[in-house]
């Protein structure tokens, strides 16, 4: 029997391959060169790998095709998300370097795991088959479970790692059951379908509405699985714990990266593949969105720990992105992309400041430790102010523009009341961001620090870059929104 070997072109996953290859090389180099005092070559190599993946992702910009027998999509949407993720990865690597050197815990594995996580997240953006979504989800989740527990001496870090792991695999099982039900309902798990085989929607149209109940049940389970990753209520329980226990640079990376990766898969699944069934999934997603916005904003108010506060804020932000997803029009999708990119950079900047301020062992993270910060370290306090204002959505920052775009998209589809809920919860959220500002500017410092942790050059650079991006995108948002819109133009192709 002649064996028909399908043509394999790896260009579709070139950014991911570049990252995985670099990560493996990095681990080998670290093992060969062994313990040295200054291992500058590790972050340098990681940066080169991330730079290569940006290059490959830019190469793919402007094409729309399915690769690897319809398993991955190569389109503007995927390229946009991949480039954004690589930028997040770069910031994380630089920030992590300073942090690890300070904590005397630098290991080659850190950079390797960050690269693997970025690769998995990138695959989420390009996945055109549910089983690839599953593989990508597990790839970046497994890397993150370990990264969360990276402060090995800290019990807190280990606890959060275990909680994140147990709840994460629990939710994965539901996600997988969702895939099984999709397969049972339509006999295929492909998001697009085409010459290589049937897709979910085309099979569904062909067989008629006989299995629509099973498909809707499956949809719900898939939303549970992905909702867990983007920290949507009621699947958010892990978020504050994991955020608090993880090393601060990793927390920033989780907030920025797993959010955009999870939403990339949700956007492709709901707004493209299941678009014909939008009247069926919308009520469910609207419920999740409203709950997420309200619970995230309200519970953040009572937090005393800055990392937990930012965790609840990240939950609320997931809710805001959902409004763009629910709109399911071009503006909604491009708005969500813009939102996720700007939010990611801002939140990475905020956690960079937290990482510097947290001091040895990453422990000074309560609001009390921030008292009178402005008089002590005006530049850091100023940068944190900027990031918090952007997260609150104050004009002249990127956060304001982002909220405007997603709420605008929701109003365009007639969901004006959803936008109203968003604005009210934004107002509640502004309260706790202001609370931090009050503590920083208007309260006296209690005790003098025994030792003052200096911000390393890389951390300073990351904070500066993030602050610059927050301001610039708040004033000249046009170009990035343009790019995000062009990313959605060839989004539906396939």
């Amino acid at each position: 029997m002649p064996l028909d070997i399908p043509a394999v072109r790896l260009t579709g996953i070139a950014p991911e391959i570049a990252l995985c290859a670099t990560a493996l090389l990095l681990l080998v180099i670290d093992a060969v060169l062994g313990e040295r005092r200054n291992r500058w070559y590790l972050p340098a190599l990681a940066s080169i790998g991330l730079g290569l993946s940006i290059y490959f992702a830019t190469e793919a910009w402007g094409t729309t095709r399915l690769e690897l027998s319809g398993m991955v999509a190569v389109d503007g949407f995927a390229s946009f998300v991949k480039i954004t993720l690589a930028v997040f990865g770069l910031l994380t690597v630089w920030l992590g370097r300073d942090f690890l050197v300070r904590e005397r815990a630098e290991e080659g594995e850190f950079y390797g795991l960050v690269l693997f996580a970025v690769a998995g997240m990138m695959l989420m953006a390009g996945a055109a088959d549910l089983i690839v979504v599953f593989l990508a989800l597990e790839t970046f989740s497994l890397a993150l479970y370990v990264l969360v527990g990276f402060r090995r001496r800290s019990l807190l870090s280990q606890e959060s790692s275990m909680k994140y792991f147990l709840l994460g695999s629990f939710s994965t099982a539901f996600f997988l059951l969702g895939i099984a039900f999709v397969y049972g309902a339509v006999g295929s798990t492909n998001l697009y379908g085409g010459e290589d085989g049937p897709g979910i929607v085309s099979s569904f149209m062909a067989t008629g509405a006989s299995d629509v109940g099973l498909l809707i049940l499956a949809m719900g389970l898939l939303i549970v699985g992905l909702g867990f990753k983007v920290a949507a209520v009621p699947f958010h329980m892990w978020t504050p714990d994991a955020y608090q226990g993880a090393p601060s640079p990793v927390t920033g990376f989780m907030a920025a990266g797993s959010k955009i990766a999870g939403f990339a898969a949700l956007l492709r699944l709901l707004d493209v593949t299941l678009y014909p069934l939008r009247e069926d999934w919308r009520p469910l997603v609207i419920g999740v969105a409203v709950l997420t916005m309200v619970v995230g904003s309200v519970l953040a108010v009572v937090q005393e720990d800055v990392k937990r506060l930012l965790a609840y804020s990240s939950i609320a932000h997931a809710g805001f992105v959902f409004t763009g997803l629910i709109a399911a029009n071009d503006r909604g999708v491009s708005g969500s992309l813009f939102y996720l990119a700007t939010y990611g950079i801002t939140v990475l900047g905020a956690f960079a400041v937290v990482a510097v301020l947290s001091g040895r062992d990453d422990e000074k993270v309560t609001l009390r430790d921030y008292r009178g910060l402005f008089y002590d370290r005006p530049l850091l306090a100023g940068a944190l102010t900027l990031f918090l204002l952007s997260l609150a959505g104050v004009p002249v920052t990127s956060g304001f523009v982002a909220k405007l775009v997603v709420f605008g998209a929701a109003i365009q589809e007639g969901y004006w009341w959803l936008a109203v809920v968003g604005m009210v919860t934004s107002a509640i959220a502004a309260f706790f961001y202001l609370k931090v500002l009050v503590v920083m500017y208007m309260q006296e410092k209690e005790t003098e620090d025994a030792e003052r942790v200096r911000s390393g050059p890389l951390s300073t650079g990351v904070i500066g870059l993030a602050a610059l991006a927050t301001i610039v995108l708040g004033l000249y948002w046009g170009p990035l929104i343009d790019v995000a819109e062009r990313a959605t133009l060839f989004f539906a192709g396939g």
Partner: protein, 102 residues
């Protein structure tokens, strides 16, 4: 060979999945929790295989291999994390793990 109706397999898978969910919710030992999660994954595998037979295409059976491999990778990472904690605390009870709250 007599033909067992696919509904039986699905019922069995549903039972396994439910036992898994209940186990995760009521048991307190991290390793036992993890075993119940594995049970859920295997229930899903059974669903895949059953649907593959009902639909008459091989995709579902292929998917099972992916799930098996990922589950194995998950065990490696998961047991390492649980071991790390158990060594420090001499217990794998999740109720002892409560430094983090609210």
């Amino acid at each position: 060979m007599t033909d067992v109706p696919p509904g039986y397999f699905l019922a069995l898978a549903g039972l396994m999945f439910t036992i898994g969910v209940i186990g995760v919710l009521v048991r307190r030992n991290a390793i036992v929790l993890f075993m119940f999660i594995e049970l859920m994954l295997n229930a899903v595998n059974l669903v895949f295989v059953t649907f593959a037979r009902m639909k008459g295409n091989i995709d579902g059976q292929v998917l099972v291999f992916f799930v098996l491999v990922v589950a194995a990778a998950e065990v490696v990472v998961g047991l390492a994390i649980i071991m790390l904690i158990a060594r420090r605390r001499a217990s794998a009870n999740v109720d002892d793990v409560r430094l983090l709250k609210w």
